[in-house]
């Protein structure tokens, strides 16, 4: 290792460095200059500064796109990682700006700092193909998220959620580490490509089976796939709205991307097959089981929910099931489909949480009954919420529909003998028909039910309305013209040669 490598390292990691420096600056400014000012100003200044930092990082990535692979995949830069990093940064900017109107905490500097640190963790996470760096950046992300979930110190629910999240998260980290250590033992390397090369063999080593299962459990926890989803409903319900939105959107994007990489790069040659006759051992049957369980459990339990946050949590489990299909497909096309799906999904979820935050502010709770008659009091927010919910339900011409369509197409394409994964796709489509029921229940409250009491005024901040509307328009445009983003994704996937 020579000195030039270190300058290169610094250059490659410059976007992350920018984020971390911004985080420190925000913290310092908030502590030193703004301590005594009202919340509103402190939040505005902190989120604006942080957004500027994110924008600077985006500019750096876009304007100086580097192509590199340092230390055997420890730090990687290629069009694909750039694309995902930019997507993460854009989502973070939206999360930050949307939190500008909240007042759940006095520790504004710390809150923004944690979001930025988590973002830096995610950026490292997507820019690596090395087990150690994956684990470290995953922990950086997770630890920040645990604290973010607990950030509303006035609410016992927030504490409870964070504790649950932390306990389950710790356990899953242990599983993941266990799996990773087995992989290291089997292959004598922490680089995914080296591991893949040494795993080739006619029969499956029992240790490898354990490694596959524990790795899948560890990563399955991050994406809230059943049966490792227990934290999700509580965290979605208890965490402050901006934290929940962040956990539900950005962290999903990063986790799915790394899940795909670990499986598709690290376990090449031990896929097995999930097609019904003659289930061959490998990692695809494991994921197929998780996917099927998630789709069933998520959609069926969501029907019974009365709180919109919990409903979104179960719908997130269901969506994790759909997206797992892309990992099972593990072709370049299915990676493109996964990225399109998870990015548009994150936009919808983020927007939905922003609307929830406003409704909670005004009516005190996210119970479905509190959304009654929203369309008459906040037409813009209601319209946007309808767009987000319908996109989640997969109604064309919104982004969620094309995401599902493309995902399902790529999965059926992925198997050489067409239609052997058809059963998963049929299950997914059948379950998405079920999902329309609970999504429509939400919209029924918003549009059909009469407002509970007309006397109370409904305050919807203009800035939030604008942001939410931007997200809704993005969901519509990406759905009507998927090519806008799809061509970047496809080009990036091709260029990265995954």
């Amino acid at each position: 290792m020579n000195a030039t490598n270190y300058t290169q390292l610094l250059q490659l990691a410059l976007p992350q460095v920018i984020i971390v420096v911004t985080a420190l600056v925000v913290m310092a400014v908030d502590l030193v200059a703004l301590r005594k000012r009202p919340f509103r100003i402190r939040f505005t200044v902190a989120t604006t500064l942080a957004s500027l930092g994110c924008a600077a990082a985006i500019l750096r990535i876009v304007l100086v796109p580097a192509q590199a692979n340092l230390f055997d995949g420890m730090l990687i830069a290629n069009p694909l990682t750039h694309l995902v990093q930019v997507a993460l940064l854009v989502l973070t900017i939206f999360t930050l700006l949307l939190s500008a109107d909240s007042n759940f905490t006095e520790h504004i500097g710390e809150f923004v700092l944690l979001i930025l640190v988590a973002t830096a963790g995610m950026m490292f996470l997507v820019g690596t193909q090395d087990l150690l760096v994956i684990f470290i950046s995953l922990e950086l992300l997770s630890l920040s998220l645990y604290v973010l979930a607990a950030f509303n110190k006035r609410s016992a629910q927030s504490w409870e959620a964070a504790l649950k999240y932390f306990l389950f998260g710790g356990m899953s980290a242990a599983f993941l580490l266990f799996g990773f250590s087995l992989l290291y033992g089997l292959s004598n390397s922490t680089s995914l490509t080296h591991i893949a090369r040494s795993l080739h063999g006619p029969s499956l080593n029992p240790l490898l089976v354990i490694a596959i299962v524990t790795t899948a459990i560890g990563l399955g926890f991050k994406i809230a796939a059943a049966p490792f989803h227990f934290w999700a409903p509580d965290v979605y319900l208890g965490a402050p709205a901006p934290s929940a939105a962040f956990i539900a959107s950005s962290s999903k994007v990063a986790s799915f991307f790394i899940f795909f990489q670990v499986m598709a790069l690290g376990f090449v040659g031990v896929e097995g097959t999930a097609a019904p006759p003659g289930l061959v051992r490998g990692w695809t049957p494991v994921l197929a089981l998780m996917a099927a369980l998630s789709m069933l459990l998520g959609n069926l339990v969501a029907i019974r929910q009365t709180s919109l946050r919990r409903l979104l949590a179960y719908s997130a489990i269901a969506h994790a099931g759909y997206m797992l299909l892309a990992i099972i497909g593990h072709t370049p096309q299915s990676l493109a489909a996964l990225l399109y799906y998870v990015i548009t999904y994150a936009l919808s979820t983020l927007g939905a949480f922003a609307v929830i935050a406003v409704v909670e502010e005004n009516r005190g709770s996210d119970e479905l009954s509190h959304f009654a008659g929203l369309s008459r009091q906040a037409p813009v927010l209601s319209f946007s919420l309808a767009i987000f919910i319908l996109s989640l339900a997969g109604i064309p011409p919104l982004a969620g529909f094309f995401g599902k369509f493309y995902l399902f197409v790529t999965i059926i394409q992925s198997t050489p003998k067409a239609a052997s994964l058809l059963w998963l796709v049929v299950l997914a489509i059948a379950m998405s028909a079920v999902s329309l029921y609970y999504y429509l229940r939400v919209l029924k409250q918003v549009y059909v039910a009469p407002p509970a009491d007309k006397a109370t005024a409904f305050r919807s901040p203009v800035f939030t309305q604008i942001l939410v509307l931007i997200l809704a328009v993005a969901v519509i445009i990406l759905g009507c013209a998927p090519n806008l983003i799809l061509k970047w994704i496809l080009a990036a996937v091709q260029a990265s040669g995954l």
Binding site: L390, I395, P396, P397, F401, F402, F405, Y406, F408, V409, I412, Q413, A418, A419, L422, V425, V426, I429, A430, S432, A433, L436, Y437, L440, L443, K444, Y447, V448, A481, P482, N483, L486, K487, L490
Partner: protein
């Protein structure tokens, strides 16, 4: 130009939402103008296009990486149904002139629905068709759930779920067909000429056919129809029966039968005397005809009578498709038009003229009101519409049912007899409804009612006259439509169907 039927409806819907609060009259007029513009465009295309062959409207790449094109085209069948949509759209607005609550939103959802319906009829790429087909679901849910009556939330949700399940089945079939054909294109013409294996077609055909037929009211998947129709506000029932159910039938013909013609072929063995999917669906269609008519015969709710009559009439359409001969299929398209006009009219009489005034649809309450004296225009309209629906000569129903009967006689002589029974039952239930609702023996004949019913308004009169004259026009000069429907059926698109199992 024809593509503007879609855009103008969507633009109208968006413009309505931007109107200031409380501008009720403006909203109505804007909606009406939009619908008229859509109809005028469809009519102009109809007049300029006397041959009925396929004519491309727009064809631009949409998602090149998947080979999906934004491809709109129209042949005689599409044009006929677009014209029907225009008429129903206009009259539906005329019959909802009395909507006072959230008027803007009502018409916005209404126009969104209309635009998507035009879109389905004009799509020539399966992906585009499916997109428009699914857009239809959401506005019809809200139209029923917000402005409906009896058990509206139940009816609306049932309708939405049935539609969505149907379209999920279609989606599975389409994705499978797309991938099997090499994932290069979703163009209908290209996929129709792709030689899918007979085994694949045998599996895919029933899936896609039933997926569409759920929306066309195929027995036993029809149960959304009566509840949905009854719950819906007048304009929405008119749209549902008039055009939305036609979407299902259109999809059966345009997608399921065109893509998978071999799926209609004979099985290797007989099950319960049925030798092919064609036999199965023909039988289900006939059961639908007779079942719908019999249930309509015993209803006490006026609107349920019409709701079940729709199931019965839609059975004719599906039966016409399953005859697989030219006269039968052309008859099915004619019946789509005829039923669209007449069901629209019947729902208008029941929902707007009678229910909106009397606030009841129960026959035992309507009878004593002496409606033939109180609102004679409604009585006359219902008599005319009922005669047309029975299939009396001179109206559109006669031509359509006759063609379907002849086609059935060629294909399934035995079923043709049962259909005859269905037609007789049709006469009986219309007669019974007419008698009970309008001409019941009044025990309190001399006493004037406490509140005289408001007279029939001008928009209602215009709407009724438009629908009746359209039905009469089609009835006395069916050649007008057949001239463009028959060439469309002889086009290369239906070649597989003609070669495969056409008789």
């Amino acid at each position: 130009m024809l593509a503007w039927t879609i855009y103008i409806s969507f633009i109208g819907a968006a413009a309505l939402l931007l109107l200031p609060r409380g501008s009720t009259t403006l909203a109505r007029i804007l909606a009406l103008l939009t619908a008229i513009a859509g109809f005028a465009i469809a009519l102009a295309a109809f007049l300029h296009h006397p041959t009925g062959e396929m004519q491309v409207i727009t064809r631009v790449p949409w998602i090149p990486s998947l080979g999906i094109e934004y491809h709109l085209a129209a042949d005689g069948i599409s044009l006929t149904l677009a014209l029907l949509t225009g008429i129903i759209a206009i009259t539906g607005i005329l019959f909802s002139w009395n909507i006072e609550e959230r008027t803007k939103e009502f018409f916005a959802f209404y126009l969104l629905l209309i635009g998507a319906v035009y879109g389905v009829f004009l799509s020539y790429d399966l992906f585009v068709l499916f997109v428009f087909y699914e857009i239809v679901i959401i506005p019809k849910y809200f139209l029923i759930a917000i402005w409906g009556s009896t058990r509206r939330e139940y009816g609306a949700m049932k309708l939405a779920i049935y539609s969505f399940v149907g379209s999920a089945m279609v989606l599975i079939g389409l994705i499978a067909a797309y991938v099997v054909a090499g994932s290069r294109t979703t163009a209908l013409a290209d996929l129709a000429h792709y030689p899918f294996s007979p085994h694949f077609q045998m599996l895919a055909f029933p899936l896609v056919f039933v997926g569409f037929a759920i929306l066309a009211g195929l027995w036993p998947f029809h149960t959304w129809a009566p509840t949905g129709h009854v719950a819906a506000p007048t304009a929405a029932s008119m749209l549902l029966a008039g055009v939305v159910m036609k979407l299902g039938a259109y999809g059966c013909l345009r997608v399921a039968m065109v893509l998978f013609p071999l799926g209609l072929g004979a099985w290797s063995h007989h099950v319960l005397g049925l030798g092919s999917w064609r036999d199965v669906f023909a039988l289900l269609a006939v059961i639908g005809i007779i079942y719908g008519a019999s249930v309509a015969l015993v209803q006490n709710d006026f609107k349920f009578v019409i709701g079940y009559s729709s199931v019965s009439h839609m059975g004719f359409i599906l039966l016409g498709l399953m005859t697989l001969n030219q006269i039968g299929i052309a008859g099915a398209v004619m019946q789509m038009v005829s039923h669209g006009l007449l069901a629209g009219l019947l729902f208008a009489v029941v929902g707007r003229m009678v229910y909106a005034r009397t606030h009841t649809r129960e026959f035992y309450l309507l009878g004593p009101m002496n409606l033939n004296k109180a609102i004679p225009f409604a009585a006359v309209t219902f008599v005319l519409a009922g005669m047309a629906a029975m299939g009396l000569p001179g109206f559109s129903g006669f031509v359509a049912e006759l063609m379907i009967l002849i086609g059935t006689w060629h294909a399934y002589p035995l079923l043709a007899l049962l259909v005859g029974l269905g037609i007789v039952l049709g006469v009986v239930y219309v007669w019974r409804a007419m008698q009970k609702a309008f001409f019941a023996e009044s025990r309190t004949a001399e006493r004037p009612p406490h509140h005289p019913l408001p007279p029939i308004t001008l928009p209602e009169r215009i709407g009724a006259i438009i629908l009746i004259s359209a039905s009469v026009l089609v009835g006395i000069y069916p050649q007008m439509l057949l001239n463009i429907i028959l060439p469309a059926l002889n086009s290369p698109l239906f070649e597989g169907l003609r070669k495969g199992s056409w008789q």
